[in-house]
Amino acid sequence: METRILYTLLVSTALVFAACGKKDEPKASPAPAPAPSAAPAPAPASAGIAVSSVTAGSAIGADKKVTIATDTFAPTDTMYVSVDTSGTGTAKLDAKWTYRKGNDVAVVKEDSMTFATTGPATHEFHVSKPDGWPAGDYEVEVTLDGRSAGSKKLTVK
């Protein structure tokens, strides 16, 4: 009986000390106030986008990058030009494909695309001719918002 009472006292004392020594639970930090609503973003300026590279080739991958880089094509090839851009915003890319014979120049095809991006992006333009390209000298010129961004001289043999 005395042992049981002593045991009970010891346990009770231990519990009291444990309770006293227990540190306060860290209070949960107040939930951060929701970020204030962003002010309406200004219209992205296309001046924030720049062309970083222009590559010609006869094939591209799903990432729109040229997988077979070349400036010499066979008459049955599709000609591609891949354009890497950096920056964010909206911009317009144009590709003008031309054929040169002596002093004469013929426009083969002109295409354009407007795009919106929040980071680096890759774009491609391509041309094909069902009955085959005439042999000779070609060129593709790429412009960004009307400003020349690069060109490639191409040859069909």
Binding site: D63, K64, T85, T90, L93, A95, W97, Y99, K101, G102, D104, V105, A106, V107, V108, K109, D111, S112, M113, T114, F115, A116, T117, A121, T122, H123, E124, F125, H126, V127, S128, K129, P130, D131, P134, G136
Partner: protein, 73 residues
């Protein structure tokens, strides 16, 4: 230009991008026509509709001058 220049009238061209293309609607357009031009498949019009639900309520009602987001292929 001299007469012996080749004829490039049948040249086919196109473009695509990893970014979201923006297409400005012109008179006579429909989402099917735009999908055919952008994806080569008119049946993919719904991709364009879904990407532009913020400005399109009815896929049959698009207007010249509207700027539509064209998701990458």
């Amino acid at each position: 230009m001299s007469d012996d220049m080749p004829d490039f009238a049948n040249v086919k061209g196109g473009s695509s991008s990893t970014a979201t293309k923006v297409y400005v609607v012109v008179a006579g357009d429909s989402l099917s026509k735009i999908a055919k031009r952008e994806y080569g498949n008119a049946k993919e019009w719904n991709r364009i509709f879904e990407a532009n639900r913020d400005i399109l309520k009815d896929p049959d009602k698009i207007y010249p001058g509207q700027k539509l987001k064209i998701p990458p292929k």
